[in-house]
Every structure is written in C-alpha cells, then in structure tokens.
Symmetry: C2
C-alpha cells in the first residue's frame, strides 16, 4: 500500500533561528506587526509499506537518521494512506 | 488581538526540487521504499491585527511580497487567534 507522510523538522526551543529572525526583521521593515517568525522544513514523502503502522515506523526512522538532527531539531509526523 | 499563522511555501508542480531529490536518493540508498520526496518551507508567524480577516489579508500580502516567489512557488496559509 502507498502512504503519504508529512514530516515537519523545526529547531528546538532555545535554538537561535537566523532565517526566522531575518524574515521577522524584513517584515518589521515593511511595517507588518509581527512578534515572532520561526522557519521550519516540511518534507512530503510518498512511500510503499505493508501497513499504516509499518509506514509510520519507517518514517520515524527516516526522521531520526536523515531528516533531523536529534541534538537540535524536533520532528512531527503526519501520515495517511493514499488510494 | 494576536494571531498565529502557518505559511507553507512549496515549489509549483513541474519545478525541479533538488533538495527533495537528494533526500529521496539518500533514503533509497538507506533501503527505504520511497517514491517521491518534496521539500517545502514552513513559516510560523505570530502577529497583531484587529480581526481574523485583517490578519489573514496581512499574511496573504507577506506571502506574496516576501515569503514566496509567485513565479515558482505556491503558498498555503492557516491562521488562528491565540489567547
């Protein structure tokens, strides 16, 4: 079966986010009233697996091994079956 | 009032996504059965506005002026009021 996963990888609280900070400053220069901007990555992954459970555990493993750095990143997974 | 917006900026269909492609190839090397990987950016923005409508239209404007490139990117906005 085929599954579609979304993995969001974001910096843990307390880590400085230079991209978010730069965008916040640009938005303030453009006169928008923003308080905070945090930038994160989102990966849309289509994969084959035998069940939702095994798809989830594969994506969990990918997130830990490749998509995130466990020292500084959090990740959040959403997954669903497709046709 | 304060609002929290999420803006996802992704490449339009047909645009080559080198980051997604590189990750897909790494995942295949690691023996995961992935069909496709697309990478996008997600911005979490906290802002002040008078109403949900005006918050939404500000974020719409930010997305067009700064966060995305209308030639090659799509953007998708989710917004909600916070305390």
């Amino acid at each position: 079966m085929r599954y579609k996963a979304k993995v969001e990888v974001s910096l843990k609280k307390g880590y400085y986010d230079p991209e978010g900070e730069t965008i916040k400053n640009s938005l303030l220069d453009l006169k928008y009233s923003v308080d905070e901007v945090r930038a994160s990555k989102l990966f849309h992954i289509t994969l084959e697996a035998d069940s939702l459970e095994s798809a989830r555990s594969e994506v969990e493993e990918m997130s830990q091994r490749l998509l995130s750095n466990p020292v500084k990143d959090n990740y959040r997974i959403e997954i669903e079956e497709i046709e």
